[in-house]
């Protein structure tokens, strides 16, 4: 079933997207040097700007945006913004009361700061933004590094003024610390020192950082110099932070650091990192990662964006020893388990390539899951073994495959064939390698045949179409065993046929390769396609969603989706069509999104990347 609810969140995301991009162009600049000033920061080397040295060593969390100026400009000056703003849906969205409220609030702030909000943002944190949480003083702190001390001071004063106007007078206190003016509004403390604005919720945290600023920056020293200065050691002295910096390399636009060793002292975190995951799907997705984190000193996140893509990477140190025996299925006993290389097919929607030893998971379920899940597995084992004609599902079936597994979904072409189903589903397939092709080939062929027979028996009881077995020998050592639904009188020539005509379950063999597919055409394509040579960038798991294929399949089912929207949202046909067209447009902005998980040089890395069409 093509269900619509999947698309609704997408639509919501899209609307959010529109709002973010929806800034009027900067107005005249009241302070003096407007957007032209941007270029001044552009040449600076990232990393030089790090304020990590201004946070105490006991900071358990630290995140920094190195060149906010570039990020702001990337978002606001992105070509996509213009395209979104030209959409009808966008024009409707900005007339909603919620949006008007938002605009009004923005105008108020701009009025008070006496500059457009984009410029205010650039002035306030154009040269850096750092946030952290310190366990010693138990406080959060943020350091905004602005354009220059003068404009920073001016803006600080205006913000305070704004707080006085809108807030309760009693909750505003002003004072100073070591000659630096500071203010407290509703328990949040502010101080401007030179070109930096410090915001914190704790006096002690604030004092530590201000001391550090005055002692180091005041003497015109770089914050990284003279690490043994009075006031204790900074985050730069934390060995795990050092290891993080070494692993992450030159800092990316945005990066975050988490001290797992300190964090792990909390019983809740420790339990979360060490207890069973409990859910089999979650275990398969992140089981090995949990083990790695439990032993790792730190974890980090980095964000990088340019005009064509946005990329989020999560990293943590990785040692094979940290993976317990029952989780060898995840990275392999030697830790070098990698997903297979899959052929590239036209109109692909989704591919997944992974290393997971499913047989191990099945047989070690007792160590991995609690009693409830094991009860479920015991029952599933009985049914699946029945389904596979008495072959033990774990030991005979799953164990016959190598742990390198691929999954592919592509759009199906129904152009000239009938019966053509009304709902057009993608074809999907799993790609395996057989451990013992000689014996397993016969065995699997037989199991497939008896499975088709079983489906026919069940199907005939429910009045469903019957499957017909067939086989296609293609070339040397290549064999495809197919099954296809036999059309009945009413199906012949039909372009509105039942859902089942999306399927022609098939298996294919070539050497060690084994494909099981929902359609015979995909089975053939996969078994015939040449496997690309390994390129050295193989990882444990990688998955890619292709927007073009997704858009095609949505188009194929446009009528169906409109009907679904009409019934589910109570919309008229016009409203339903408009919504689907908007969705198609939105999907059209994207190129592909991918996810990879793998380790290299002692670092485990998960990377999510989304590419937009330029």
């Amino acid at each position: 079933m093509v269900r619509l609810n999947v698309f609704i969140p997408l639509g919501a995301m899209f609307c959010l997207f529109s709002v973010i991009f929806s800034t009027p162009a900067p107005a005249e600049d009241p302070i003096g040097d407007g957007p032209q000033a941007t270029s001044r920061f552009a040449g600076q080397v990232i990393g030089e700007l790090s304020d990590a040295g201004l946070f105490p060593q006991s900071s358990v969390f630290f995140a920094e945006v190195n060149d906010p100026q570039a990020l702001i400009s990337l978002l606001l000056d992105h070509p996509l913004r213009e395209r979104v703003e030209s959409l009808e849906a966008y024009k409707t969205a900005i007339t909603t009361p919620a949006y008007r409220q938002f605009s009004l609030g923005r105008m108020m702030v701009e009025g008070q700061l006496k500059m457009p909000w984009r410029e205010a943002l650039e002035t306030l944190l154009g040269r850096g933004l750092a946030v952290g949480f310190d366990t010693e003083t138990n406080g959060f702190a943020a350091i905004l590094r602005g354009k220059d001390p003068a404009s920073m001071k001016l803006l600080g004063d205006r913000l305070l003024e704004f707080a006085r106007l809108t807030g309760n007078q009693d909750q505003i206190t002003e004072g100073e610390y070591r000659g630096v003016p500071a203010a407290e509004v509703n328990n949040v403390r502010f101080a401007v020192y030179q070109d930096r604005l410090l915001i914190t919720n704790r006096g002690d945290t604030g004092k530590w950082i201000l001391d550090r600023m005055i002692d180091h920056l005041g003497a015109k020293k770089s914050p990284e110099a003279d690490q043994q200065a009075p006031g204790g050691s900074s985050l730069l002295d934390n060995p795990r932070f050092q290891s993080f910096r070494a692993a992450v390399g030159p800092a990316t636009q945005v990066h975050a650091f988490l001290d797992l060793q300190v964090l792990g002292q909390s019983p809740a975190v420790s339990a979360a990192l060490r207890s069973q995951i409990g859910n089999p799907v979650a275990e398969l997705l992140v089981g090995g990662v949990q083990s790695a984190l439990a032993q790792a000193g730190w974890a980090s996140a980095q964000l990088a964006a340019d005009a064509e893509s946005i990329k989020l990477s999560l990293s943590t140190p990785f040692e094979l020893d940290s993976i317990p025996e029952q989780r060898e299925y995840f990275f392999g006993p030697e830790g070098d388990g990698r997903g297979p290389i899959l052929p590239q097919l036209p109109e692909t929607i989704f591919t997944l390539s992974t290393y997971r030893n499913f047989a191990d998971v099945w047989l070690r379920a007792g160590d991995l899951f609690d009693a409830n899940v094991n009860d479920g597995i015991a029952q599933a084992d009985a049914s699946l073994t029945t389904l596979f004609a008495g072959r033990d599902f774990g030991e005979d079936i799953l164990a016959a495959f190598e742990p390198e597994v691929g999954f592919v979904a592509i759009r199906q072409e129904f152009a000239n064939t009938t019966p053509r189903p009304t709902i057009k589903l993608p074809a999907f397939a799993m790609v395996f390698e057989l451990k013992e092709p000689a014996t397993m080939k016969r065995e699997l062929r037989r199991i497939f045949q008896s499975l088709v027979g079983f489906l026919n028996v069940v199907g005939s009881m429910n009045g469903q179409r019957q499957l017909e077995l067939g086989s296609e020998g293609i070339g040397e050592g290549v064999e495809v065993i197919t099954s296809s639904f036999v059309p009945e009188q009413e199906d012949i020539g039909s372009t509105e046929a039942q859902l089942v005509f999306n399927f022609s379950p098939s298996v294919a063999f070539r050497g060690k390769q084994f494909v099981i597919s929902s359609s015979k055409s995909l089975a053939r394509q996969l078994i015939e396609a040449p496997r690309p040579e390994p390129t050295g960038i193989q990882v444990n798991t990688s998955a890619t969603l292709h927007a073009a294929g997704l858009q095609e399949i949505l188009k194929d089912n446009r009528e169906q989706l409109i009907a679904q929207i009409m019934l589910e949202n109570g919309n008229t046909r016009e409203e339903g069509s408009a919504l689907i067209d908007l969705l198609l447009t939105a999907v059209g902005y994207f190129n592909e999104t991918s996810f990879t998980l793998g380790h290299d040089d002692g670092t485990l890395k998960a990377v999510w990347q989304m590419k937009v069409l330029p």
């Binding site: 409830n372 009860d375 015991a378 029952q379 084992d381 009985a382 049914s383 073994t385 029945t386 008495g390 033990d392 599902f393 009881m461």
Partner: protein
């Protein structure tokens, strides 16, 4: 026509008697109970003195064909071990019923009930010419008729109909679960709701006590020139709102005496307990657990299933007793057939014939009832039935639900002797 029909608990026009249990279980909560304005009758302590309308039947369907031979096990019988070299349960593991028989080791819950004298095991239940198709055999159990006979309704449906329960103020029976309604509950005249959660018995209102009070008091207001029809609706509304309130308070006040197992069946039986505690007049609750079709790798899967049933049923019996309603409860667990005596090559068993039926509750003749089907006298490799399943229904109908057998079963079957008082 039914327009003149007044269901039994209409004491006078539009007046509704309150469920008796309100005064039994929660006498200490009398502040809220007394506002209903009826004084409590004497405590009912003996099953025999239970009014017929207070009796509750909970049916647990074990779908797929439960392996009776590995459930109630003749473990000392050499023929048993010989027929099942790989999956036989060892004498040292069974939970003893008597010298000859033992329960599967996973049925700790059932064994506890047995110890408390709350479990009756009817052995060798089946019917002539057993059918080995799940669907057909289940239809036979549900309807009491075979395929070539006219069968449009189920035995529970006919019971509800023969007792005139077409328009009661509470549903006469409830099916818990999302799946298709069991055929046993079908009838032409009485509709049985399926419920997925207790929410269906709670009035949803905006979070405002004002509106809740307003709705209640406006429904209660007397209407002077109301037609009979409107009067009926008003009386039913009042009853519905009271049911909702009882459900709210049951949600707050009902505390299970022990926690139910974290299984689908456990949660469903907990819902049953809550509904009973809320004073609903429902007579029959129907739940189903699937998965007994153990053709391969049976031992672990079967143990899980038997533990699930045993733990859930025994928790229900203990809990309902702790809530003070134990004497009102009878649980019946059945399966559409047993399995073949001989195991198959995949450590499993195939479709067979006769099997045991479990009855749980107070006032039962506890222990094994009837004879275990002999292993040296098989019919096509299957156990012969000693008791027709309709004899079990007959006992439930006559001795528990106190109604006549013939309109429901179509003939006078001899009830099996399972009730202590019968």
């Amino acid at each position: 026509m039914k327009s003149e029909f007044m269901p039994y608990h209409f004491s006078k026009q539009h007046g509704i008697k309150l469920p008796r249990r309100s005064f039994l279980g929660h006498a200490s909560l009398s502040a809220s109970v007394l506002t209903f304005g009826v004084t409590a009758p004497g405590v009912l302590c003996e099953a025999a003195s239970l009014a017929k309308e207070d009796r509750i039947l909970v049916v647990v369907e074990m779908a797929g064909g439960n392996d009776g031979l590995n459930t109630v096990i003749p473990h000392r019988d050499d023929l048993y071990r010989a027929a099942r070299p790989k999956i036989a349960i060892d004498s040292s593991d069974v939970l003893a019923i008597n010298d000859e028989l033992g329960l599967h080791p996973a049925m700790r819950g059932m064994a506890d009930l047995l110890e408390n004298g709350q479990l009756s095991i009817v052995q060798g239940v089946g019917y002539e010419n057993p059918n080995r198709s799940h669907f057909e055999s289940m239809d036979i159990w549900h309807s009491c008729y075979r395929k070539d006979e006219t069968r449009q309704d189920g035995w529970i449906g006919r019971y509800l109909e023969s007792e005139g329960m077409a328009s009661l103020t509470d549903p006469p029976a409830l099916h818990l679960g999302k799946r298709q309604q069991p055929f046993a509950l079908m009838s032409r005249g009485v509709r049985v709701p399926s419920i997925q959660s207790l929410e269906q018995f709670r009035l949803r209102v905006a979070d405002s006590p004002d509106i809740r009070n307003a709705i209640r008091s406006l429904s209660n207001q007397s209407r002077e020139d109301a037609t009979d029809l409107l009067g009926f609706v008003q009386a039913s509304s009042r009853n519905a709102l009271e049911a909702s309130e009882r459900m709210e308070s049951a949600g707050v006040k009902y505390k299970p005496s022990e926690s139910y197992p974290e299984t689908a069946l456990g949660r469903q039986l907990e819902t049953v307990a809550k509904l009973i505690a809320s004073g609903l007049h429902t007579r029959v609750y129907y739940v189903r657990i699937d998965g007994f079709d153990t053709h391969a790798n049976q031992p672990d899967a079967h143990a899980v299933l038997l533990r699930t049933v045993g733990d859930a049923v025994s928790t229900l019996v203990r809990d309902v007793n702790a809530q003070g309603d134990g004497d009102r409860l009878l649980v019946m667990c059945f399966s559409e057939f047993g399995r073949r005596v001989a195991e198959n090559a995949s450590d499993g068993t195939d479709h067979g014939a006769a099997g045991p039926v479990f009855l749980a509750g107070n006032g039962l003749r506890s222990g094994a009832v009837g004879k275990h089907p002999p292993l040296d006298d098989l019919q096509n490799g299957d156990l012969l039935h000693g008791v027709d399943f309709r004899q079990v229904y007959a006992a439930v109908l006559k001795d528990w639900l106190k109604c006549s057998i013939r309109p429901v079963l179509g003939a006078d079957y001899e009830p099996v002797d399972v009730f202590a008082g019968s």
